[in-house]
Symmetry: C2
Subunit: 201 residues, 2 copies
């Protein structure tokens, strides 16, 4: 046994799973916490406990790794919000559940704002990252619109647009002021918005 080859040194995160899974877990931690541009390839592979060639065999480029990281982020957010909505039955409650799910997220120690916003701030307009971001934006807007329609809002798109503003504002305020407590205000504002729209707005 000349050298120990499997399991390099530390594997701080995601000790199990395929190379792809470990890379995504490491990218998720580092890119989200420190920024996609600040974190280099070497940091990612060291964290994942994976060889550089494995990264390039699996993803082809750093840009593709970033895309995959954002897509997984989208999927996780969708799962989290979906689970929160399932606990309620009426469209109005489901709408408020979206904000509550975000509030939980704000209070977690890893919270560093919207991953898509952060990534977008580091990339040029027209980049392939923008496309993933647009998919996420379209998804959240469609979610609000569908629920607004089910709730019987006279103009579901208009209500959804305003709820998106609230959704964005909550995340940005929580991030920039490092104050997850904005949620209390946001919940009241969202409820008022919904009720006013349903009443006849």
């Amino acid at each position: 046994m000349p050298t120990k080859t499997v399991g390099t040194a530390a594997e701080p995160a995601a000790p199990g799973g395929s190379a792809r899974e470990r890379l995504l877990a490491a990218a998720n931690e580092l890119f989200y916490r420190e920024g996609i541009h600040t974190v280099g390839i070497d940091r990612v592979i060291e964290r994942a406990g994976v060889a550089k060639a494995s990264l390039y065999n699996t993803f082809g480029s750093k840009d593709e790794l970033i895309r995959a990281y954002l897509q997984e982020r989208h999927a996780r957010t969708a799962g989290r919000i979906g689970a929160a909505m399932e606990r309620y039955s009426t469209p109005r409650e489901k709408l408020l559940a979206i904000f509550e799910s975000q509030a939980d997220y704000f209070t977690s120690s890893e919270f560093r704002g919207c991953a898509f916003m952060n990534a977008s701030a580091e990339t040029q307009p027209g980049s392939s990252i923008e496309q993933v971001s647009d998919e996420y934006r379209g998804w959240i807007r469609a979610l609000f619109t569908g629920l607004a329609e089910q709730a019987g809002a006279p103009d579901p798109a208009a209500l959804a647009g305003r709820l998106v503003v609230l959704y964005d504002g909550a995340g940005l305020s929580a991030r920039m002021d490092r104050n997850p407590g904005v949620f209390a205000d946001v919940r009241v504002m969202a409820a008022a918005l919904i009720d006013s729209a349903l009443a006849g707005g």
Copy 2:
């Protein structure tokens, strides 16, 4: 006259003014449009038509240049909002003028979201950039709080907090959806928030 030394080649922006002013103008354009990490020193000095030594004599480091860029951004925003508020006399109108001023800004072609948010996404927590950002956040919150108090709101801090959420949400939505039209919604939401608070909220 052996070589032409002053006025290197192009000076695309800010042809007049001191080296400091030209550097700040170039930094403002490039950092805001492409990100503080993406843009290197060489691009800034080329754009400013200034020697590298001048940058380091004036600012000492890239980090200090970034700080100065953000501080100027803060001053410009304060000036823009102040001018918008001066056109009105009542606190309620002044509050709405803040949102109108931002709406004008959203429609400008250079708009790329909140400069402090963007810079913050590219820096580690605890960095010296965070401090400049905090000053900006404190200023805008104090502005809202003071006006809410003058308007006679029973809880000025609470109203200000909600207006900040709206302010943030407007900027983020306009940026991520590339849709300055959110302003129409935001204005209505802000007016409703203010009137509800003044009525007895």
